[in-house]
């Protein structure tokens, strides 16, 4: 079975139009033939009926027998018009009188009204007109007046020839019309498809990176929605491409800068004769390397968010927070930071990009631990609200200036402490989940950031009650 979706427009049109046209053509021919045949019959039958009436008017019974005068003039006319032979027969129902071509067949119906029928006589096809008439007086001493049957017949060869001529004419006329219509159709389809072919050429000529919209104003209205969709797609791609370009610009800056710093430090350390100075330089390099490593991880995570095609799978938010807490526990303990984890009793599972969410929260906690004073406290909290779940990291660090808070989420905003990309990542991850990111200074000092994810309506109700896990 051919696949309907891959059939060309032309083939589809042909498939519908050709059988339909042939049907119309056939029935038109058939109807024409029928109508012409009926018309011809009635015309021919009228002249037969004229002859019948003339004979009928000339019948006489005055002589005691049946007398008649043949309308020779009429017959001659008839014969001339029909270019065939004319026969006649006059007979009474008792068979006593038989005049003319006595072997002409009887009409099919016993009616007295004039009737016309086809018959065969002496191997020829005939059209026969017949009429019955009751005589005024009985003939030959019969008790009742007889009924006399008058028949006039002519051969149909000329009529058939005429019909054939008409049929051929009709056939050629219809066939010509049909071919003309199909030709017009082919040309019309070609004309209609021309804008599409031109469109195809425009697609073919497009440069690989060309994301500009197509001008659809010269295209047929039917194609316009397609162009609009295409343009919308292009616009999305262009947005993404612009984002990626920005990302690469920023990323090269973020990665090249520390590499140049390292290079300088290295050259300086090798060149300096002072051992203490060299050690101090190497010590400083360690910090730059650590920052670069963190930046690389963040940039990779951001690139993954920007790539847009991250599948969402059901993720247990408590499990993510616990993982992140365990990951940063050694670093927190080195600073004697009390790292608390505050989770609800019920597990909260949302469709999310697990690795990115993990990376985002991990960056937030990393910021909090790095910026907290030694012995400080950092809390990782999951707050499940009716329509959203908030992953909250709070610390007792320096917090942020109002100017800085206003610009949270601007990408690669460097603030000297390296919290910038981590925040951008959190914002990007929140957005890709349809959520939001907030940051605020806490009363009493410190910062509280929240990555807020929307809960799908179906999840707002508790699907299953978990056994209560004992909190410490």
């Amino acid at each position: 079975m051919p696949d309907r979706r891959v059939r060309s427009l032309r083939a589809t049109l042909a498939l519908w139009m050709i059988p339909a046209s042939l049907c119309v053509f056939g029935s038109s021919i058939w109807l024409t033939q029928n109508a012409i045949a009926r018309l011809a019959d009635s015309a021919y039958d009228r002249s037969l009926s004229g002859a019948l009436r003339a004979i009928e008017a000339d019948l006489s019974v005055q002589s005691g027998g049946l007398g008649m005068e043949l309308p020779y003039a009429l017959f001659a006319n008839l014969q001339a018009a029909a270019t065939g032979t004319v026969y006649f027969r006059i007979s009474t129902d008792d068979g006593l009188v038989q005049i003319g071509d006595t072997r002409l067949p009887d009409p099919p119906s016993p009616t007295r009204a004039a009737q016309f029928f086809d018959a065969t006589y002496l191997g020829q096809s005939l059209r026969v007109g017949a009429v019955r008439k009751r005589l005024a007086v009985p003939l030959y001493g019969a008790p009742t007046p007889q009924t006399v049957l008058i028949e006039v017949a002519e051969t149909t060869a000329s009529r058939e020839a005429f019909l054939g001529r008409i049929a051929r004419l009709a056939f050629w006329r219809d066939a010509t019309a049909l071919l003309a219509a199909l030709a017009v159709l082919v040309v019309g389809v070609g004309m209609a498809l021309r804008p599409l072919l031109r469109l195809r050429d425009r697609f073919d000529r497009r440069a690989p990176g060309d994301l500009s919209p197509l001008d659809g104003s010269a295209l047929p209205a039917e194609v316009r929605p397609l162009i609009d969709s295409f343009n919308a797609l292009m616009a999305r791609h262009a947005d993404q491409a612009a984002g990626q370009k920005r990302f690469f610009d920023d990323a090269s800056h973020q990665l090249r800068t520390p590499l140049s710093v390292l290079r300088m430090q290295l050259d300086y350390a090798l060149a300096t004769p002072d051992t203490a100075e060299r050690e101090a330089t190497l010590e400083a390099m360690r910090g730059v390397v650590d920052r670069t490593a963190r930046t690389t991880g963040q940039l990779l995570a951001l690139a993954r968010v920007d790539s847009g095609a991250v599948p969402l799978t059901p993720v247990d938010l408590s499990a993510i927070l616990r993982e992140v807490a365990f990951l940063h526990l050694p670093a927190a303990r080195r600073k004697r930071i009390a790292l608390d984890l505050d989770l609800p009793d019920a597990p909260e599972t949302l469709p999310a990009a697990e690795t990115l969410l993990y990376e985002a929260v991990s960056n937030l906690l990393d910021n909090a631990v790095r910026l907290s004073p030694p012995g400080g406290e950092v809390t990782l909290r999951l707050d499940v609200r009716p329509k959203a779940a908030a992953l909250i990291v709070s610390d007792r660090g320096p917090g942020m200036t109002p100017e800085r808070l206003a610009r949270v989420g601007e990408r690669f905003l460097t603030d000297g402490e390296g919290a910038g990309i981590g925040l951008s990542l959190a914002v990007a991850v929140a957005r890709m989940h349809g959520g939001t990111f907030t940051a605020a200074n806490r009363p009493g000092g410190g910062l509280e950031v929240a990555l807020i994810l929307p809960r799908p309506p179906a999840l707002s109700k508790n699907r299953h009650m978990p056994e209560n896990e004992s909190r410490l």
Partner: protein, 232 residues
């Protein structure tokens, strides 16, 4: 080379295909008293890890011949019980979880600080040797599983059976928070009427006994209890 507290050096096999990284990691860990042999093929790595000469395996995930998961699978299938620390440049969480299930003991993301590798490696080896020899320590607190005795700063530490059970759990997993539920779970077999509140009381008593020494029990809300040495 710095011997650990039992006078034995840690020997470790590194399976890593990047020669630079291997060279510098070997050099750096040698400075921390850890002997590292380098192998750049996964198949050879599995063979050598199964010789029993090594205390731990440092495994890179991006090997050309076998991937990390295959190395782990072959090692564990071959009966290798040595602890495995995975070095990875990937940060896919589900990968990590899958590898933990496959028998990895710890993870470090590249790039890492050598001090971090050393600390985690020593902890891993100590834990696995502790499991093997029954000797555990944290700061100056020691536990000998054979005699079931604790010692603090050289003196015997006297604890009640319940305190003993908890402290034993904690010293077997130094630095790893244990939730109250987890502790209850582990103890309930031996001590059916232990209540969650009782654990808080027992921890409080243990803290008083450890007071003034370089080891303490830390509580983190939501995470649990763990032992921590003062200088860690």
């Amino acid at each position: 080379m710095r011997p650990d507290q039992k006078g034995k050096t840690v020997r470790c096999l590194l399976v890593e295909d990047d020669a630079d990284l291997a060279l510098w990691l070997v050099k750096s860990l040698a400075g921390h008293g850890i002997i590292v042999d380098w192998e750049d093929s996964g198949q050879m790595g599995v063979k050598r890890a199964l010789t029993g000469e090594y205390d731990a395996l440092l495994l890179d995930l991006g090997l050309p011949d076998l991937d990390g998961a295959q190395v782990l699978a072959r090692l564990r299938a071959g009966g290798g019980t040595l602890p495995v620390m995975v070095l990875t440049a990937r940060d896919d969480l589900s990968d990590r979880i899958a590898l933990l299930h496959a028998g990895a003991d710890d993870f470090l993301s590249k790039p890492f600080a050598v001090s971090e590798v050393e600390a985690r490696l020593v902890a891993l080896v100590r834990r696995s040797q502790g499991r093997a020899t029954g000797a555990f320590s944290c700061g100056r607190l020691f536990y000998d599983q054979a005699t079931r005795r604790f010692a603090l700063a050289g003196d015997p530490l006297h604890v009640t059976p319940r305190e003993h059970a908890i402290l034993q759990l904690l010293i077997q997993r130094v630095g790893e928070p244990l939730s109250k539920a987890h502790i209850l779970d582990r103890l309930v077999g031996e001590d059916a009427d232990l209540q969650p509140e009782a654990i808080e009381v027992l921890i409080h008593r243990l803290r008083r006994k450890l007071e003034g020494h370089d080891v303490r029990i830390v509580t983190l809300r939501g995470l649990g209890y763990f032992l921590e040495a003062e200088d860690a």
